[in-house]
Amino acid sequence: MRFVFKTTYGQDLGLFRDAVQRNWYVALLLGLILLPRLVPAYLNDISLVFIYGLCGLSLMVLAGYTGLVSLGHAAFLGVGAYAHVYFTQTLGLPWIVSVALAAVLTAAAGVLVGLPALRMTGVYLTIATLAFALIIQEVFARWEPVTGGLKGRAVDKPVVFGFKMGSDVAFYFLCLVFLAGGIWLTANLLRSPTGRAWVAIRDSEIAAQSMGVNLAVYKTMAFAYSAALMGLGGALFAHRIGFLAPDIFSVLLSIQFLLMVVVGGLGSLHGALFGAVFVALLPVAISQARDTVPAGLGQIAAVFGKGAGDATFVAADRFVKQPGLEPGIFGLILVLFILFEPLGIYGRWLKIRIFFSTFPLYKHATFRRQKTYMRSERLR
């Protein structure tokens, strides 16, 4: 096991624990830069992972760090997407200006939702955000001059600083840059007073208030920042899907975002990104399985005779072609995670890492909490 000796206070302010950790992240970045050469067929899916990564960061700030659970984040994504398309294609603003404006506009929408939310806590807040999302979706459908209404609106390829980013590779790198920037900004906030105030509000509002945290200001700030990240994600998302229609930004998408942070692990940036990988790639995996699993099962069952093989193939084929399969699997996974791994994928990752770093001495009790003293713990 490696122990980091600290000699200056500045060491606790770094983004990375030490040089070893930094080198791992550099290696990861290099890997991502080389990835387009390795898996050119999946670039579009990986770009979606990056965009969902931004969305994950956004909801992680709000739900994971500030403790305000939102079921309306797809609406913020939609506001960002429609605003960006309107600014670039109707008003003809430069791409980068339009993205910035979309983020600002979404942040304003965040403040608008955040203000009434100050008086609500827990599940009531979640329901309020849900209502907001439904209203916004209706606005997308009715405000035809801007959104194109139910007919939808086609999205051009991005043109950044005069470069037309038509290819998948260019778009992949565009998303990568935005995600890396988003991670950096969020990590900066989390190591500053603002981030600490958010965590304080999550863990004990009354204590945060007594230490001088203005609850109204910091909750609104969390909403605004979270929405702004979602707005950035929305601008990229618009290019990724190429066509905007109101039904894309449905409650189901909001639930997917929530799933992302819960499955990834609440309260960690890693969790947001793990969750994004999971949620963005699961549909890809399901569609792959759709093509291969029935035939595979049929071949295995064919050992017991041709009739059994055919019957299995037909049954499996009917099962995987059920229309509700994907949300069903998502829901099942969410339930299983909450039951068996409340810390999410990030928690599992930590356990695996500690298992190896303390190899023969790992004890199961490391992550088990034995004592409960505090109010919020007793309620759990």
Binding site: N188, V199, I206, G212
Partner: protein, 252 residues
């Protein structure tokens, strides 16, 4: 000059009058203790001072300024810090992060600067860290610096909560039952710390306490409450011997 003055504090919860005409003065450098049976309204006084409740009538003055209606987050900035009876720490954070939050009232950086983590932010964070380290040194919290609150013992949490209050650099420290749930040794340690906070740091202490030996050791003045009304005020010995106080505790 009086540091904290309460005049005729009164608060009603529905039909219940939890406090009725409570007045007292806390002089700078004092350890002032409020005692009383359960439900006497001791913690309610704390919640009025930290502005979690609005008083129905009465006035609170701190350092010459009326604080009866300032917003709750302003209280810390004015120099009043508190601990809670049931420990309100940020349990999924480390001790260090908890203490750094105590520095929140001293935040001088703006959101955009923090977003980019400009050198100025780093500089301020380092100075906050130094202030926090002084408190860690003072309360011997070095072994727990990087542990999560969830992994600490109850006694250690009590100390961390007091440390967090000290990190705000208060003029007045409100301690809500500092010895509850502590062993005899830990209570003695707490008594030393309270005395040190008063004499070495020059911080005035207002506390609610049940343990009469601790009250007798550290307090300069004691106020006894019963059913929201003050029944006796004076030195610890005077209050303990007051017939109304004996009656309130023992009945009769």
């Amino acid at each position: 000059m009086t540091l904290l003055a309460a005049e005729g504090l009164q608060i009603n919860f529905g039909g219940i009058r939890a406090l009725d005409g409570v007045s007292f003065d806390v002089e700078p450098g004092q350890v002032f203790t409020i005692i009383g049976p359960n439900g006497a309204g001791k913690t309610t006084i704390f919640n009025l001072i930290s502005r979690i409740y609005d008083s129905t009538a009465g006035r609170l003055t701190f350092a010459g300024e009326d604080i009866t209606s300032v917003p709750p987050h302003e209280i810390a900035r004015r120099g009043i810090a508190r601990t809670f009876q049931n420990i309100e720490l940020f349990e999924h954070a480390t001790v260090l992060q908890n203490l750094l939050l105590g520095r929140h009232g001293h935040r001088r950086t703006r959101f955009v600067e923090e977003l980019l983590f400009l050198p100025r932010v780093r500089q301020h964070e380092l100075s906050h860290r130094e202030a926090v380290e002084k408190v860690i040194e003072f309360l011997d919290l070095q072994p727990h610096r990087d542990s999560l609150i969830a992994n600490l013992s109850y006694g250690a949490r009590k100390v961390v909560e007091m440390a967090r209050a000290l990190c705000t650099e208060p003029k007045l420290l409100l301690l809500d039952e500092p010895s509850s749930g502590l062993s005899v040794e830990e209570t003695e340690g707490m008594a030393f710390w309270i005395q040190d906070i008063r004499s070495l740091l020059g911080i005035t202490v207002l506390m609610v306490e049940h343990n009469m030996s601790l009250v007798g050791t550290v307090s300069d003045r004691v106020l006894a409450l019963n059913y929201g009304r003050p029944i006796a005020i004076g030195t610890a010995r005077e209050v303990q011997e007051h017939p109304d106080v004996i009656k309130a505790y023992l009945g009769g």
